[in-house]
């Protein structure tokens, strides 16, 4: 038995009983890999560590530690290393201005999520049910990801601004200009456009797993298209729907670029406030405290939403 996995000049037939069947052809890299496999097979703990270690390490390094650091900072006065205080939290939670911004952010996020879910589900459904060119259409759905987020936002500025592409086209058609840029509508359009692919992919995945026979069975038993959708299609794909909603709701709630670029001065969202604390006001502890509160609120909202979704549709979505 070789003790070291890196014994390069070990002949293949000498690297373990399990390898005897490999014959003489196994040598060099193959022999080394098999040696490592054998080595780890005999040490289950080490093997578990080798497999699970890296992802956990990354999670700890880039998620747990920064979150902890933020938590610590959020309890400090004025600046990092300042005195311990609860002021950051009390200031935020008692400020009507900030809470109004949170409420606005919540409303926009709900609207965006609802629009994206509806449009995305319709899109995914039509790709699955009515199209033969599924791969091409999916490619088109994710194609925008090849371009930078910021550039795409500037493209929307170009389209939506007064005398921009949209208004010019409307003008050609003899319709009045809209001048949508710097309105709530512009923000909704921008978000819908950016997050749509994130929702379409999980919707698509769950819809392709849906057994077409179940749809036929439902119709066979007397349910029309709408009844069938509500009592079979939607419950059977609820996991994908929840995934899509989570993927859209969370980044919308924390977003600051889209509302800054497309929204007006009075369309402030909470992400912009947090960004401002870190980049302009240099009040990191206050920014960290808002961040913590928002994180807790979002997680709580999602837990409630998922419970509700699960309750509505029973065991739902266990597509085999």
């Amino acid at each position: 038995m070789p003790e070291s996995p890196s014994s390069t000049d070990e002949p293949a037939d000498g690297s373990g009983d399990e390898l005897a069947t490999d014959g003489g052809s196994t040598a060099g890299v193959d022999g080394r890999m098999s040696g490592l496999t054998t080595y780890l097979r005999e040490r289950p703990r080490l093997r578990t560590l080798a497999i699970a270690g890296p992802p956990y390490g990354i999670l700890v390094l880039f998620f747990a530690i920064p979150l902890l650091a933020m938590l610590v900072v959020s309890f400090q006065a004025d600046q990092i290393g300042g005195a311990w205080t609860l002021h950051n939290y009390t200031d935020f939670l008692t400020s009507e201005t900030y809470l109004t911004v949170v409420w606005r952010t919540f409303l926009i996020s709900v609207q965006v999520t609802a629009i994206v879910a509806a449009v995305g589900y319709a899109l995914a459904y039509s790709i699955v049910r009515f199209s033969r060119r599924t791969t091409l259409l999916l490619l088109l759905v994710i194609l925008p990801f090849w371009t930078s987020y910021i550039i795409r936002m500037y493209a929307w500025i170009n389209i939506l601004q007064s005398d921009g592409v949209l208004d010019s086209l409307l003008d050609l058609a003899g319709l009045p200009a809209l001048g949508l840029l710097y309105t709530d509508t512009a923000v909704l359009i921008g978000f819908t456009y950016v997050w749509l692919p994130l929702a379409v992919l999980p919707f698509y995945a769950s819809l392709t797993n849906l057994d077409g026979d179940l749809i036929e069975a439902s119709k066979d038993l007397g349910a029309g298209p709408i009844r069938t959708f509500l009592s079979v299609t939607l419950p059977m794909t609820i996991n994908g729907v929840v995934t899509g909603i989570v993927l859209v709701f969370i980044p919308t709630f924390g977003s600051f670029i889209t509302p800054r670029l497309l929204g007006g001065t009075n369309n402030i969202m909470i992400g912009m406030v947090i960004e401002n604390q870190f980049k302009s006001a240099f009040n990191w502890p206050f920014g960290a405290a808002i961040g913590m509160v928002i994180s807790v609120v979002v997680v709580a909202l999602l837990v409630v939403a998922m419970r509700l979704g699960g309750g509505l549709f029973g065991a739902g979505g266990e597509t085999a």
Binding site: L214, E216, A217, K219, G222, V232, M236
Partner: protein, 377 residues
Amino acid sequence: MSLLRVRGLTKEFGDLVAVDDVDFDVEDGEFVSILGPSGSGKSTVLRMVAGFEEPTEGEIALDDVGIVGSPPFERDVNMVFQDLALFPHLTVAENIGYGLKQSGVPADERRERTEDMLEMVRLEGYGDRTPSELSGGEQQRVALARALVNEPALVLFDEPLSSLDRKLRQHMQGELQRIQLETDTTFLYVTHDQEVALAVSDRLVVLDDGRIQQVGTVEELYEAPESRFVADFIGDVNAVEGRVTAVEDDGIAINTGDEAVTVPRTTAEEVAVDDAVDVCIRPFQVRVESADADGSDADAPADTDGTFSTTGVVRSRSYQGSDSQYGIETDRWGRLSAEVRSASFEIDDRVTVAWDAADVHVYRRDGDGSPGGDGGS
């Protein structure tokens, strides 16, 4: 008036004609099977009756009302799907009550009828389970109950028993017959499995390559198959090549080697002198007797008095309970199989093989009568 009337039903998928001018009827209370190899178009016929496919041509009438063009949820038929298609997110009771709910039956009546149906399929107390907690046979029962509870005019079956093992399948066949009689419902059952079809059906519709081969009772199809395909497909058959040498009023003379045997006219398709034909005989109609060990009978002439006979050697035997199946290498006609009761031969025994000309069926060899489909369904 037939409950279901199908006339000139045709379905084309692009260039492929899946169903070609199919006519048949199903009477009220009957158990009719559509039997055919995979790719024969039998499932497509069923799907057109259910409303999942629109016919290219032809009409389907249920209770004398045309149903072509009406959506599946408006047709008074219910289907038991091949993979059952039970709703995994609903309980057994909810699955069964699904159709009643759609038609607006109030909750307490729904519960009552679901309970009755669970009792009918012998699954009392299973209502609160989910389909995944049931065995294959139990799931079949739920699927059946889900269709029957709506009291449809016609229940359609798309080979639902094919996934079960033989013993359970035979049991479910019996259950199907019992439930059909108890509920007095009409069943239209699609299968490629002749054993299932023969066991359960009042009448059979044999389909091949989209066309009807024969419609009749099980006995008619077995005893008087109209084509070589039907003869082969319904039960086993031996075929001996021959040539027609004379067509008389009282019979047809067929030479299957060196002698002509006259067979009754009633058994044959229209044949003419010099046609190449297959003379077909069921294994159970073949008589086997011991021959002299020295093989002196080898050149015994085929009798012209209405018996086919030759000698041969036993090459295989398989015990099948009440009888034994022998494979016999004959001197005249190659390998034949025979089912013999209460006689025992060993491998390599020399035997004489004979059967009555009255039992044979004669079909022209025109090349397209052989069984076996092309392509999946």
